[in-house]
Symmetry: C2
Subunit: 112 residues, 2 copies
């Protein structure tokens, strides 16, 4: 199985492994931000709840993303299922504004 991108090591997109590039690699994987988003809004959630909330994710991918997010320290397993860690919550705080922006974007695409 392949490891998570680690700052300081070469990652997809940067041989130098600039931290931000490692993070973009990690979060840019399909579903990664979606899982974090969904979980942050409804924690704690069981595997199947999460799967249902994500509508179309497959268990293999969900499991892989969870493993990565856990290894990265954004998500943990506890009572009641999966939940975000404090670090994960900070990450979510950063992507949350995308929600409002997305609405403007939608309007932009309609309008012109």
């Amino acid at each position: 199985m392949n490891a998570i991108p680690v700052p300081g090591q070469p990652v997809r997109g940067s041989r130098s492994g600039a931290p931000v590039m490692a993070l973009l690699d990690l979060l840019g994987r399909r579903w990664a931000m979606g899982v974090l988003w969904t979980l942050a809004e409804g924690e704690p959630m069981t595997f199947r709840e999460l799967q249902a909330a994500c509508e179309t994710i497959s268990p293999g991918v969900l499991n892989k993303r969870l493993a990565e997010l856990r290894e990265a320290g954004f998500v943990k397993r506890g009572d009641g299922g999966y939940a975000v860690t404090p670090l994960g919550r900070r990450a979510f705080g950063l992507i949350e504004p995308l929600g409002a922006f997305a609405k403007d974007w939608a309007a932009h695409l309609d309008g012109a």
Copy 2:
């Protein structure tokens, strides 16, 4: 060729096409955020400059991401090459804080 995710249409991750899910689909594609980031910092850039700045991106993928980002209204072509649009700059403004966060994350991974 496949279209960009559009808010209001089913996208990967949401049959309802919540705007944020469409945006996460678009930006979650490999290299999408990296290209936006790189471009926002060095605009305007030619295709080849961008390719060089991204170190390991292949021209096929770069071209595809550029087409998507252009269709989404985040990037445009003008004199001197590609540049971000005002909307794209706003998007960049949202992902830029990930840079600082990534450093904390790196420290977190080291520390514990």
